[in-house]
């Protein structure tokens, strides 16, 4: 079952009088429950695609359908509701609220979602049951990213979007985070889109969308995705 459809999506930014297109002729689809990786070098337009998908930006043209909804037509307000109910976002630099404990960071997300999971359960699930009341500054990078993941999935979103989630982590920790994401995707049947420039990570994906110079070069379905603990970088 197709959850996401990108159809000839184009995004232009206007800088002064010049129009720069970040992405164009961008088409792909992602099925529900799939772990998709958008792979490409820096500046290829990965983040723009993720932003468009996450409702943080609207395309200049083309169609974006998520779960049957044409989000490219959404106005600002609708986009907020879309992000609120359907999207879980994970950033390279975690973006936790430093002033809130791990638990509270998760609760912050939960309290605005009607179908959210119990924050404690989720934190337990990401292996932080003993760090519930720690503040971000007291946590390691990996732990912080776990909290970020917990915060994203606790909302019970339709879509989990991860922007270079391991970018700021060492390889071991990164691997564990990837494993966690894979596990979550599979166990909770949560469609996950992950951005990376790391081809190795692409091995764990169900679908690899290669992006270069602002357009989709190829969409490969990985018949046998590796388990996260099988990869090395």
């Amino acid at each position: 079952m197709t959850l996401i459809v990108f159809d000839d999506v184009k995004k232009e930014y206007t800088v002064g009088a010049i129009k720069i297109s970040a992405v164009e002729h961008c088409s792909f689809s992602i099925d529900k429950g799939e772990l998709a990786v958008i792979l490409g070098p820096s500046g290829a337009g990965k983040t723009t695609i993720l932003n468009l998908l996450g409702g943080m930006d609207s395309p200049s043209s083309g169609h974006i359908c998520v779960d049957g909804n044409s989000i490219h037509n959404y106005n600002k307000k609708q986009l907020v509701e879309y992000r609120r109910n359907d999207i879980g976002f994970i950033f390279q630099f975690y973006n936790l609220i430093g002033n809130l404990t791990a638990l509270e960071n998760v609760e912050l997300a939960c309290q605005i979602c009607p179908n959210s999971f119990n924050p404690k359960t989720i934190l337990n699930q990401v292996g932080l049951s003993d760090r519930l009341s720690s503040f971000p500054a007291q946590l390691s990078g990996g732990e912080q990213q776990r909290v970020a993941i917990a915060r994203a999935i606790a909302k019970n979103p339709k879509l989990l979007l991860c922007d270079e989630p391991t970018g700021a982590l060492d390889s071991d920790t990164g691997q564990r985070i990837i494993a966690l994401l894979q596990k979550t995707c599979k166990e909770m049947d949560m469609t996950t889109v992950l951005i990376t420039h790391n081809t190795i990570i692409a091995d764990i994906a169900d679908k690899v969308i290669k992006v270069k110079n602002g357009t989709v070069k190829s969409v490969t379905i990985n018949e046998n995705p590796k388990r996260a603990d099988e990869i090395m970088w």
């Binding site: 907020v80 509701e81 973006n95 609220i97 404990t101 503040f135 500054a137 909302k155």
Partner: protein, 1014 residues
């Protein structure tokens, strides 16, 4: 290096908002600091220059009996006296208004000619430019004949006088008691025997008016004048006494001379009259004698005449007998004679014819002989007749002559008699007139004697002259101006400091923030090998250029705008303000700014620069979250909603920012509370004093001290329907203790009950009514405050002649205008060892005030009437004057509140952009995102308001104390409304800034904000 500065200038252009906000905050802070600080020097300078240029006197001495050249000479010799000018002034009525006429002086209180010319003749005058026009005729309606040569003047020049710097000219003892205007005329127009006043200019070493130096010089001189005061008063008394005495003696001598002379004249007149009377009497007797003699003569003569007539008649008888014998008549005798002669002749002829013997012859002869005989007897008879005829003729002639003479004599006597009657009448008239004149003379003498005696009595009753020594306080407006300046100084001492502190906090905060934000760039520069000092210098360049420009611009704008703004609220008649730019203030402001900015920038930069460049280039790790105190109180913490918990946590985590907000906003709120509070303190003070405390309608100042209301005074009060008059003794005293001097009135009422009705005194301690009893000495709050007195303490007071008295305070009463000490007559006798006499009446009345004032002032028993309503208006006006200053404080405090809140909000948003973007990505709606920030801002604002109110109360308390230096006290309580107004204003600014924030938040771009740090 130059590239670094290029970078800085680019930075300035790029973040112009931040640069400008730095600049503006410093500008407002320094501007207000400099402006308010410049105000009182500017105003003092303008006033002082005015006083100096127009030689405002330092002292004015008036005496109840005029002043003399001797006084001038003595005063001239006093130490520190530069100039002594005797002069004249008179309060007169003109067209129903009371105006004061001064003599034009060219070396003291010089008039400022605003248009027209100086008078050339004595019929011209200079007049108040606010009342008169050139060409106006001013006619004096009082009778001033013995004081002025001319009583009608033409205005030839309009003036301002340094003696009148307030638009209220004060009071006078004539007309309705209010001085309406003033004119200046040539000195020789005055024909008074003594000067009405003496002006003294002290050697003040060019000390500024109102300065301590000036005040102490003047105070010293004042003491010197007080020292000679009683001598001069006595001298004047002696002078007047001896002059009057001499006059009386002269008059007495003159009277005596006159009397003697007149008496002599009268006795002479009497003698003349008596002599005349005697003469007349003698004349009358003589006349009577003469008349008698005359009649005697007449009788004798008549008898003689009768006899003679008898003789003649006898003769005639004989003749007639002879005739009849002869048979002839007298008429025929001649015929017979002729016949006989003829017969004889015939016979003789015949005889011849006959012989001698012839018978014929003999016969003839015999016949002849007979004939001869007959002829002979006839002839004899004829002779007798002739003789008798002659005799009779003679006799008749004699009788006629005699009778004529007698008639003449009789006529003379009659005339003499008539003359005597006339003279007698004249004499009677003379006596009548004499008696009349004598009576008149006696009356005149009695009158003159009485006059002399009266004069003697008057001289005996002569009061000692009294000198009144006035310093410049007597210039209406002089002291008030001082009070206003003091208030501005008090504000200048505190408020701008507050302002500058807040702006410093704000700028250093934003500077620190800026450096933190740019840590990455600092890291890059360090890694490129730039020296730390170079990097710091670029930031210093940034901050010092902003604050330096801000300070300089602020200084000039502040000095340019604020003093004239405050000055425009003054209603004094002073020359236009001359703006001065005191560079010292600028240097101080810049120095403070620079020291603070340099230290903040250096400290923050150094903190960053201590780090390794690599670390700097990584994003700043999130600050450590921490549990807050509130979490330990589970009861509260558990009940708080999640968002509240977040808010609380945020507030406590960003302590510095919260503190900044609280200090900034609380400071502004405090300023607002203070400003409103001072306004409260002023409004209603007048009403409270005149109506609340002093409850009488009018105060009547008597000419002479009396011991009770009786006689003419009672009649007057009854006639004017004065209700419940209460006699008071009101005298001025002063106190100098602990280096502070205070003037006050002592009031001694005749009647305690009425006093308690008219003077509603309330204790400052318990707000209970204080009634005046025996032994109570009640002082008003300002005296107690200044000398730190409590009930039972001793206050030493000084009268105008520098005698000291000790008073034991029994109560302290609420009071707002002037200072008073109250005691009753028995206490007074104990303290001063004399029985109190009274010089003032306070009372109520039901009649029209203006009418009453005229009626009373025109009465010779009354000097002046002061209506409580007028006093209320005066105080009301002077408090109104400060409203402008208060408004300025409110406006600037508001301005600063806005700038501070804007700055804080900007910093808040810039610091939390990432957090807010995260929330947005998480799907927080705009409202939710905002409330996440707002709740915090709102709580901080509320806390700030609380702190601000408390700080405001403290600041207000301090300022009120400073302002109260003068005779005016203010309410210490701030009204609820003022708190509410200050809080609402703060809240309004806060809400306004939240609206600005709302749009700023809306503009935050999630993607940009969350982009990995480059």
């Amino acid at each position: 290096m130059s590239l670094l500065y290029k970078n800085v200038s680019l930075k300035i252009r790029k973040s112009l908002g931040r640069y400008l906000s730095l600049l503006i905050i410093i500008m407002v802070g320094v501007g207000f600091f400099a402006g308010v600080n410049a105000t009182s020097p500017d105003v003092v300078n303008v006033a002082d220059t005015y006083y100096k240029n127009y030689e405002l006197m330092d002292f004015k001495i008036i005496s109840t009996m005029g002043l003399t050249d001797a006084d001038v000479a003595i005063l001239q010799q006093l130490y520190n006296v530069q100039l002594v000018v005797p002069s004249y002034s008179l309060d007169v009525q003109s067209r129903g208004n009371a105006i004061r006429i001064h003599s034009i002086e060219n070396n003291v209180n010089i008039v400022k000619l605003t248009s027209g010319l100086m008078p050339e003749s004595d019929k011209e005058c200079l007049a108040d430019s606010r009342t008169y026009m050139i060409g106006d005729k001013i006619e004096i309606t009082d009778n001033m004949d013995d004081k002025l040569i001319n009583t009608e003047f033409t205005v030839v020049g309009l003036i301002d006088s340094v003696l009148y710097i307030n638009n209220d000219y004060g009071s006078t003892s004539i007309g309705n008691g209010k001085l309406a205007s003033f004119i200046f005329i040539n000195k020789n127009n005055f024909i008074l025997e003594a000067y009405t006043e003496i002006y003294i200019i002290a050697q003040t070493d060019n000390a500024d008016a109102y300065s301590n130096q000036y005040n102490s010089i003047v105070a010293m001189l004042n003491e010197k004048i007080v020292e000679i005061k009683s001598d001069r008063e006595n001298a004047r008394y002696d002078e007047i006494y001896f002059e009057a005495m001499t006059k009386i003696n002269d008059s007495e001598v003159e009277l005596k001379n006159e009397q003697t002379k007149a008496e002599k004249e009268f006795s002479d007149a009497k003698k003349t009259l008596d002599d005349s009377a005697l003469k007349l009497y003698q004349g009358k007797n003589e006349l009577a004698e003469n008349e008698a003699t005359l009649e005697g003569i007449v009788n004798t003569k008549n008898a003689e005449f009768d006899l003679a007539k008898q003789l003649i008649a006898d003769g005639w008888q004989k003749i007639d007998d002879g005739l009849s014998e002869a048979g002839i008549t007298k008429e025929s005798i001649d015929f017979h004679i002729d016949e006989l002669t003829l017969a004889i002749t015939y016979l003789q002829l015949q005889l011849e014819n006959y012989p001698t013997d012839s018978p014929e012859y003999v016969d003839i002869y015999a016949t002849l002989m007979e004939y001869f005989g007959k002829l002979n007897s006839l002839e004899q008879l004829k002779t007798s007749i002739n003789v008798l005829n002659a005799q009779e003729l003679e006799l008749n002639n004699g009788i006629n002559l005699f009778n004529a003479e007698i008639d003449k004599a009789r006529n003379e006597i009659l005339n003499a008699k008539n003359e005597i009657i006339t003279n007698e009448k004249k004499l009677r008239d003379g006596y009548t007139e004499y008696n009349k004149n004598l009576a008149e003379f006696k009356t005149e003498i009695a009158d003159a004697t009485k006059k002399i005696n009266d004069a003697k009595q008057e001289l005996f009753d002569l009061d000692y002259p009294k000198w009144y020594i006035y310093d410049r306080d007597t210039v209406i407006g002089y002291t008030e101006l001082d009070n206003v300046i003091k208030i501005i100084n008090a504000i200048a001492a505190v408020l701008p400091f507050f302002f500058i502190l807040i702006s410093m906090l704000m700028t250093s905060n934003s500077m620190a923030r800026m450096i933190t934000e740019e840590r990455n760039e600092i890291g890059t520069l360090t890694s490129l090998g730039y020296k730390d000092s170079d990097i710091i210098l670029t930031y210093l360049f940034y901050v010092l250029s902003a604050t330096g420009i801000g300070a300089i611009v602020g200084f000039f704008i502040g000095c340019r705008i604020i003093p004239p703004l405050i000055y425009s609220n003054f209603i004094y008649i002073l020359p236009p303000l001359v703006l001065e730019y005191n560079l010292r203030t600028l240097i101080i402001a810049i120095a403070i700014t620079f020291v603070l900015m340099i230290s903040v920038t250096t400290v923050v930069c150094n903190k960053e620069l201590k780090q390794k460049p690599a670390y700097l280039m990584r994003p700043l790790p999130p600050a450590r979250g921490q549990r807050i105190f509130l979490e330990k109180i589970g009861l509260i913490w558990k009940r708080m909603s999640f968002t509240w918990k977040v808010t609380m946590r945020n507030m406590f985590r960003y302590k510095k920012r919260a503190l900044m907000t609280v200090i900034g906003v609380a400071g502004c709120a405090a300023l607002l509370v203070t400003a409103f509070g001072i306004h409260d303190g002023m409004t209603g003070v007048a009403e409270k004093q005149y109506g609340g405390i002093l409850r009488y309608d009018e105060m009547i100042i008597l000419k002479d001290e009396v011991s009770t209301i009786d006689g003419g005074l009672k009649e007057l009060l009854d006639k004017e329907a004065i209700i419940n008059p209460l006699l008071l003794k009101q005298n001025a005293y002063s106190c100098e203790q602990a280096g502070r001097s205070l003037d006050f009135y002592m009031i001694v009422p005749q009647n305690n009950e009425l006093f308690n009705e008219y003077f509603n005194l309330e204790s400052t301690l318990d707000k209970q009514h204080i009634s005046l009893d025996d032994d109570s000495i009640i002082i008003t709050q300002r005296i107690a405050k200044v000398y730190n007195l409590k009930n039972g303490d001793i206050l030493t007071i000084k009268d105008l002649d520098n005698n000291n008295y000790n008073l034991t305070v029994t109560d302290i009463a609420e009071n707002y205008v002037s200072n008073y000490i109250y005691m009753n007559t028995s206490t007074y006798s104990e303290v001063f060892d004399e029985t109190a006499t009274f010089n003032v009446i306070v009372a109520n009345s039901a009649t029209d005030e203006t009418m009453l004032a005229e009626q009373l002032i025109n009465n010779e028993l009354v000097v002046n009437v002061v209506f409580t309503g007028d006093a209320l208006n005066t105080v009301f006006d002077s408090t109104q004057r400060l409203s402008g200053v208060i408004a300025l404080v409110i406006i600037i405090a508001s301005l600063l509140t806005i700038v501070v809140l804007y700055n804080l909000t900007s910093i808040n948003i810039s610091e939390r952009t990432r957090e807010i973007a995260t929330l947005k990505v998480l799907g927080f709606r705009d409202g939710e995102t905002n409330s996440y920030i707002y709740r915090e801002a709102l709580i901080l604002t509320v806390i700030s308001m609380g702190v601000g109110v408390v700080a405001g109360i403290a600041l207000h308390h301090y300022l009120i104390d400073v302002i109260e230096n003068g005779a005016l006290s203010l309410f210490k309580n701030i009204k609820l409304f003022s708190y509410v107004a200050a809080c609402i204003l703060t809240l309004v600014f806060s809400v306004f800034m939240q609206i600005v924030t709302y749009f700023k938040l809306k503009k935050i771009d999630m993607i940009e904000s969350l982009k990995s740090v480059e």
